[in-house]
Amino acid sequence: MKNTPVLTIRDLHQYFEQGTINETHALQGINLTITEGEFVTIIGGNGAGKSTLLNSIAGTLPIDTGQIVLDGKDITYDSVTKRARWIARVFQDPKMGTAQRLSVAENMALAAKRGEHHSLFRFGTPRSARPRFQAALKRLNLGLEDRLDTEIGLLSGGQRQAITLLMATLQKPEMLLLDEHTAALDPKTSATVLHLTEQLVNEEDLTALMITHNMQDAIKYGNRLLMLDHGKIVVDIAGEEKKHLTVPQLLDLFNKASQEELTDDELLLSADK
């Protein structure tokens, strides 16, 4: 069961504004295999390509070059809607992950049917589903189990992000994508949501990709760490080595990696002259 590849990315390139003076080569040949049960944290500076990578996997960004295979299926050209059958996602902005004017129960009902047909002949939020939603909310310990009929837009960002996380697991995804999902929260709420993330990933035995800006979090959570720089994977640490990693070591690795980038750039510049 373990060591089965869930996600395989081959030679993925993404360009922005290709053919113009502002052309950016955002992803420069990403090769990555993620196996079942891996909880991968991704760090990197601004513009390193973290979000571009996640958007490519989720399907919100059409792929320029390369191939994405999920559980043996080539999903390179599948739409976001089609990929939703296998991929669940939590966005950075708490507003993005939920439909604000719908109730908590309605949001959860929609997520529980992720990727399935939306029938005209079944109720969207059946009474029979409420106990299950209530039980799931209870696990959050945020007192939300009595607020199934509250408009979700009235809840705080942290509460909504916790619910979005729960929603992503109501229907077990083959791949869970977390796009800096605690970046918009205050430190205390962020810690709570991260803890919940770890709990859900472990309990449901999920395979997950989590982007974070915080090196400490990248080390603390997950069992594999990737560092992106200028659209390339420059560090890939897993297992025991990752467990014993410290922030200074990570910084050191980061500097080394970007140093190499710098010299590369210098070479390019001098070659131009």
């Binding site: 719908l102 009902a109 939306h118 969207g124």
Partner: protein, 310 residues
């Protein structure tokens, strides 16, 4: 009393149109101009069929289906060709003008002494006939819409209106849901057109002009009356809004305003209604600032007193 009854009868028919406009306006956040073509389209189908002695219910149904087809066209232009919503509506509306002329064969069809859907209640006065049929239809529409929006598909459609990205990420076919809303919306609008032609006794090629403004006014009156409601209750306020709107128009005409100036009045009234939320906010802000000025004055007075005490 006559004014009240005729306003109710007209308001009921307009409320069907307003409910249709509401679906695109508030659920998809689009002011869909297709409405002004779908309304006469429904009227054109119904009037030309009835003039040829077809069953009036069948004629009305055909009108409604025609409106759904128009909605399908706009929905496809908007979702598949990614044409901006406003242009989409104008394109369909422009095309429909020729189609409506084709259906009617001339610019105006009179329906004098024809059997209409209102004839079923011939024992009542003509106004009461419209009220009975209108109320029945509005009730059926309300029940069907509330049921629809509580199905899985309806829930997905509401989610699309709220947050298309989240909906897609949860596997909802966003474009299909938008098209469904476009079709239901314009089907209802055409149904209102078909009923209006039968109630007025004629269909006219230009009867759609300005109708979206009337529908929006009915919606906004309802929203100004009561804010934040579930769909079923919101439909009720739209019906009341439409009736109030017809009453206002009736009073304006009764007061001697030239009917030729009516469209200017429609536009002005809707402008005022659209400005109400801002006005409310500004009044609140004005009152808060006035209270705060008094508060600051008392702070100043106290500070001065403490200075003196030193």
């Amino acid at each position: 009393m006559d004014i009240l009854l005729s306003s109710i009868s007209q308001g009921l028919i307009w409320s069907i149109m307003a409910i249709g406009v509401y679906l695109t306006f508030r659920i998809l956040d689009i002011a869909d101009m297709t409405a002004e073509g779908a309304f006469p389209l429904g009227a054109a189908f119904a009037a030309s069929l009835i003039a040829n002695h077809a069953n009036p219910w069948l004629a009305t149904l055909v009108g409604m289906l025609g409106g759904m087809a128009a909605g399908l066209v706009s929905g496809l232009l908007y979702t598949r060709l990614r044409i901006p919503a406003l242009l989409t509506g104008i394109l369909t509306l422009t095309g429909l003008y020729s189609i409506n002329l084709r259906i009617m064969g001339k610019a105006n069809i009179a329906l004098l002494n024809q059997t209409t859907v209102f004839s079923a209640f011939a024992q009542f006065s003509s106004t009461m006939q419209v009220i009975i049929v209108g109320a029945l239809l509005v009730a059926v529409i309300m029940v069907l819409l509330v049921l629809f929006f509580n199905t899985e598909m309806g829930l997905a459609a509401r989610a699309v209106g709220d947050n298309p990205d989240m909906s897609a990420a949860n596997g909802v076919h966003v474009a299909n849901m938008q098209i469904v809303i476009y079709m239901i919306s314009n089907g209802l609008i055409a149904l209102a057109g078909a009923l209006m032609a039968q109630s007025n006794g004629y269909a006219d090629i230009s009867m759609g002009v300005g109708t979206i403004v009337i529908a929006l006014a009915a919606i906004i009156i309802g929203e100004v009356l009561v804010r934040n409601l579930t769909l079923g209750k919101r439909i009720l306020t739209i019906i009341i809004g439409a009736i109030i709107y017809r009453l206002i128009i009736a009073l304006v005409l009764w007061a001697g305003v030239d009917p030729n100036d009516l469209r200017l009045f429609y536009a002005a009234l809707l402008t005022v209604l659209l400005a109400v939320p801002l006005m409310r906010q500004l009044t609140k802000q004005y009152n808060r600032r006035r209270a705060n000025r008094i508060h600051i004055k008392s702070l100043n007075a106290q500070a001065a007193k403490e200075d003196k005490a030193k």
